[in-house]
């Protein structure tokens, strides 16, 4: 480890409410949600689709504004009463659900993009670093290819590398493995765990998959259906580093058992509401 103490990336969400108004109908996406995420924690947000979890992520990232409440990052205000929308920035890197690698750039150009436009490194430096980091992620041979030419697993990994090269305080992941088959997903999980063990970056991960959440996370927050509120919080005390053998362990099964009822209840509610899911 590089001796970095876990003081970066603490998120404090206080009484955040988000109401928005598509086509004249008020929709409350998040209702008075409060959450404290200490630095270096892997915080998993679980809930039925469209319940508003993405809204929270968007608020932290600065894509949407919040109607009331405050969000702090390491003690600094991200958004609040006088500043409804946070600025977007490289300290909170996002990995998107459908993958947002620029299709017109090669993997290595994608990864090198961040440092270059921020002016933090020169083009040559950025490309070198990108090459190294891609190799670390097992993507050395793909570096000169375009996202359209590689498998989705590779692309998603490259996207994470693209996020990490900027040394962010927080990694925001919005159901990044949703569209993958279970086999690829398990490889992605191991890859993410390996990345976390190396960098100890705070991770805010949204998923609908309870087992994924427990496998990866330090804490699992179960959210209600729209409007989103915290329903149940689970502390995952399985020691790190973890590998796929954890999935068959006793403790894992117990945790799944604990959370299952809560999740299932919300799933039924969401289904019966039958509303079209919010983005």
């Amino acid at each position: 480890m590089d001796g970095q103490t876990l003081t970066r990336g603490a998120i404090s969400i206080r009484n955040v409410t988000k109401i928005y108004d598509p086509e004249g109908v008020n929709v409350m996406a998040v209702d008075d949600c409060s959450l404290e995420i200490p630095a270096g924690e892997v915080c998993m947000i679980v809930g039925p689709s469209g319940c508003g979890k993405t809204t929270l992520l968007n608020a932290i990232a600065g894509f949407h504004s919040i109607t009331s409440g405050e969000i702090y990052l390491d003690g600094e205000l991200l958004c609040g009463p006088n500043k409804p929308i946070a600025e977007q920035g490289a300290d909170r890197m996002v990995v998107f659900q459908h993958g947002a690698l620029f299709p017109w750039k090669t993997l290595i150009d994608n990864v090198a993009y961040g440092p270059i436009v921020q002016g933090v490194m020169t083009k040559a430096e950025a490309r070198d670093k990108a090459e190294v980091m891609l190799a670390e992620a097992g993507l050395a041979d793909m570096a000169k290819k375009y996202p359209g030419e590689v498998s989705s697993g590779m692309a998603r990994r490259a996207e994470i590398v693209r996020a990490l090269i900027n040394d962010p305080k927080v990694l925001l992941l919005d159901e990044p493995y949703r569209a993958m088959d279970a086999l690829t997903k398990s490889i992605m999980h191991e890859s993410l765990l390996e990345v976390y063990d190396r960098t100890k970056v705070t991770i805010f991960f949204i998923t609908h998959d309870l087992e994924e959440a427990i496998f990866l996370g330090d804490r699992v927050i179960v959210m209600t259906t729209r409007p989103a509120r915290t329903k149940k919080i689970l502390n995952v005390d399985i020691p790190r580093p973890r590998d796929f053998k954890v999935l068959s362990s006793e403790r894992f099964r117990q945790l799944v058992e604990e959370a299952k009822d809560a999740v299932h209840e919300e799933a039924i509610k969401a289904f019966e509401a039958g509303e079209r899911e919010l983005a």
Partner: protein, 294 residues
């Protein structure tokens, strides 16, 4: 830190300050008027007209002529000319004649083009035999057909109608072909697994699935039709048989030196073209109710 560890099991009792479910629909007009974009557009158009007026009048006022625009009559003159012509039956007759030609050629193109396009899409052999000649003829601009058409058809009216038809035909067929081919094959398979016959497939899946492309093709084809009708009217010129119409109106105004009237004609055609495209779009939205969601 402690707050987050609470696990609220019952929903927190609060007064909701905002009624979460009350819809607040605003009419389209309300939305338009309250939007910034709308007013900016108005400002832009007014600015454009003003600029035009100033540039055209520049010579009159200062003796310095603005290049190109200086030769164009100013909007005020155009408006004056229009109020004059408004009362002439001949002007409205030109509208009627041109519109009639456009729709005649257009409907012919649709009647022949849609089935042809659908056949091309549906039947492999038909496509392989008839598509090549179609593709070879397509790049030839419709107007290039005019002289050949005049030679071939007995009357000028028919020859112009033919060229009009050609112009729209190619566009419509291409659009129909593209639309039919892009229908998700899963829809066809789903229908087949439910026991649909070939005819059912055609009527219930391929036809409605192609409708959007048919209307896109129609809208574009409409524009081409207007161009061709115009060309025909301008070239064939004069009088009764195969004459008249807005194209002729423009050309004779030009010949007669009443330039303001030329512009009146131009704007009239613009309006006519816009109205006909809107008509198509309207018919399209009625026949495709499932698309109104967004």
């Amino acid at each position: 830190m402690s707050e987050a560890d609470k696990t609220p099991n019952a929903p927190v009792e609060r007064e909701t300050k905002v009624d979460v479910r009350a819809p607040r629909k605003r009419s389209k007009l309300e939305k338009a008027i309250s939007s910034k974009s709308f007013w900016r557009g108005v400002v832009a158009l007014i600015g454009f007209v003003l600029l035009w007026e100033v540039c055209s009048r520049m010579e009159q006022w200062t003796g310095v002529e603005v290049p190109w625009i200086g030769k164009v009559p100013p909007p005020t003159e155009v408006l004056a000319a229009w109020t004059e012509i408004f009362w002439f039956a001949g002007y409205w007759e030109s509208w009627y004649l041109s519109t009639g030609r456009v729709f005649a050629g257009f409907i012919a193109a649709m009647v022949l083009g849609i089935p042809f396009g659908l056949c091309l899409a549906v039947n492999r052999y038909f496509h392989d035999i008839f598509f090549p000649p179609f593709e070879v003829l397509r790049p030839i601009p419709p107007l290039a057909w005019v002289p050949a058409s005049i030679v071939f058809w007995p009357t000028t009216e028919l020859s112009i109608a033919f060229v009009t038809f050609l112009g729209a035909f190619f566009t419509i067929v291409i659009n129909v072909l593209g639309g039919a081919k892009s229908i998700d094959i899963r829809f066809l398979r789903a229908a087949q697994s439910m026991g649909a016959t070939q005819w059912d497939l055609f009527r219930k899946i391929i036809l409605p699935g192609t409708l959007p492309s048919i209307f896109t093709g129609a809208a574009v084809g409409m524009g081409i039709t207007w161009e061709v009708v115009l060309a025909g009217e301008m070239i064939s010129g004069g009088g009764q048989q195969g004459g008249g119409g807005l194209g002729f109106f423009i050309w004779s105004s030009y010949m007669g030196g009443t330039v303001a009237q030329v512009i009146v004609g131009m704007i009239s055609i613009g309006i006519a073209g816009y109205l006909s495209s809107s008509l198509i779009r309207y018919i399209g939205s009625i026949s495709m109710p499932w698309r109104r969601l967004f």
